[in-house]
Point group: C2
Chain length 364, copies 2
Amino acid sequence: MKLDGLDTPSVLVEVDIMTANLDRLAGYCREHRLNLRPHVKTHKIPELAQLQVRKGAVGVTVAKLGEAEVMVDGGIEDVLLAYPVYGEIKWERLVSLARRARISVALDSLEVAQGISRHAREAGVRIPILVEFDTGMRRCGLAIARESIGVLERIVELPALDYEGLLIYPGHFLVDPERRNQLLTLENRQLSTLLGLLDDARIPYPVISASSTPTAYMSHQFDNINEVRPGTYIFNDRNTIGCQAAGLEDCAVSVLSTVVSTSVPGKAAIDGGSKTFSSDKFLSGDGVGFGHVMGDPGAVVEYLSEEHGHLVLANAIRRYRVGDRVRVIPNHVCACVNMHNRIYGIRDDEVVTEWRVSARGAVQ
Amino acid sequence: MKLDGLDTPSVLVEVDIMTANLDRLAGYCREHRLNLRPHVKTHKIPELAQLQVRKGAVGVTVAKLGEAEVMVDGGIEDVLLAYPVYGEIKWERLVSLARRARISVALDSLEVAQGISRHAREAGVRIPILVEFDTGMRRCGLAIARESIGVLERIVELPALDYEGLLIYPGHFLVDPERRNQLLTLENRQLSTLLGLLDDARIPYPVISASSTPTAYMSHQFDNINEVRPGTYIFNDRNTIGCQAAGLEDCAVSVLSTVVSTSVPGKAAIDGGSKTFSSDKFLSGDGVGFGHVMGDPGAVVEYLSEEHGHLVLANAIRRYRVGDRVRVIPNHVCACVNMHNRIYGIRDDEVVTEWRVSARGAVQ
């Protein structure tokens, strides 16, 4: 099918750019002897997870049990659930899944560890565990401090858990390269302190898992880490471009939209709004706008209502007429893809494949 | 099932509050002889649309064809598609649906009207049409000006379309009651100008459709309107409360969540993030936070990552421990419900029903 035959709004993925993104990072990880464990929350598509594994990933990372279940159903054999799952229903699902594939969990509290341990022991399975530490994101993770080592020691001793090492999430690195380099210095100081505390307590750390897309190609500069978990890099997006972790030419994703109204002078409305793009902001740039209009960076996607995107055309370089089609790069591709049941792979103006976003809407 | 048995995150609807919300607005509309045509983008659930019709709604409003299709499949016989649908594929779907139910369309351009007219004529169906005018939202809608009347006249003359009147959307009324009253004066001045232009051109306006939830109970003060299309009123949300169009006691919806991490001092992370609540902002208030923590208004949902909500507890009145459950009222319920495949009706601590969000993910 030609692109013209596709209805709008539709999420498009340029297959050749995506493949190049996958190959480039896989090559980098091989070169630096880093295990690559891509975060599949970005696409939620088992077929793309399989492709990542075929290109050398050791397994995948997920953000919720529902995603883990869809990935295991889709043939993925090694899944890191980078989320402190809590509750009887979830622990039951977790140990049940652990009978079918290798499921490790990252957590940061004794409560979560005890729950998983109890259920794993009853089910007769073992769950590999990473313990999360906070290196500056201030979101989750134990503090890098002597008090935390006691918690870690108690987690390590719990039955039916296999403690494997540490997880950090440098999500606060979604900034320009110069500031990223400053943060790296702090990060390595923190990591060094943490490993010192562990050495003192004679706790090993065979795995140190880190990285996000903005830091993906700096991973070799994070001292001692041996696993990376970027997600967005498969497609990239406006935020990745904004923080200069990718160029416009590396961005595989866009939303094909139709201009549906030009009644308001100086504006145009397209048929993609917050239920197509998500309301996620342009965090890595000036904060303005909800997407990048391909071929017309002066057209500002000023705001989104649920099913409309509102373009302000004061600095646009082209005219917009009702029925015109435009392609818009979303601010945050993970949130955008999560809005769609299907996305489309293209090569030039040909639709070459279609993927079902299988884990979309999966329960936590 | 008891609420304790429900996994998190889950969207809860207090059935008795919802019913009271529906009854109150239905009563108001009867009293003021206004046709009620609720916008079902809020819930996307045919069973709730049916309930609205049983309580006196003349039909429903939808924002996209996919929603219209799900509603007609679910037995709704009168649907207003308040969206200027453009494109051959959509026009085909539209006329096909028009064979099964009454489907009217709101539009603001000759291009959209011509496309629908051509397809309707070929299919041998007639499509009722409302023409949208812009009264200040500056999103879509023809300008209230003499030049627009020529466009309207050409739309009215198109074959296979039944022009029925006007549509306006006072979406910019999501502000406090005092400013809403100021806007009302402007709105009525605009409406008066518009109707004067139509009278001069001898164009009738049997239907004047307006209203949103913030203006729902002011609808009788909008001169000459005879149809209202609120959506959010069925549940209400933090934005509705923020603009004082509803009280906390009128809010039927919350997200049941579990505290999953308290590792970072002064904070707690819950298991609902932007893929549970949406990233929609607190537009009607101070802009701070992504939800209202029930029973603890001092706890601020500072920001959302995809699967975490980050509570800042500096002004909280209770402690948060891993495993505690909290209920959080979302900023924007339409965007929140759109994230879920199922939502749950509760009465006290009993889960009394479960609805499938059937039109979630429906294509435009």
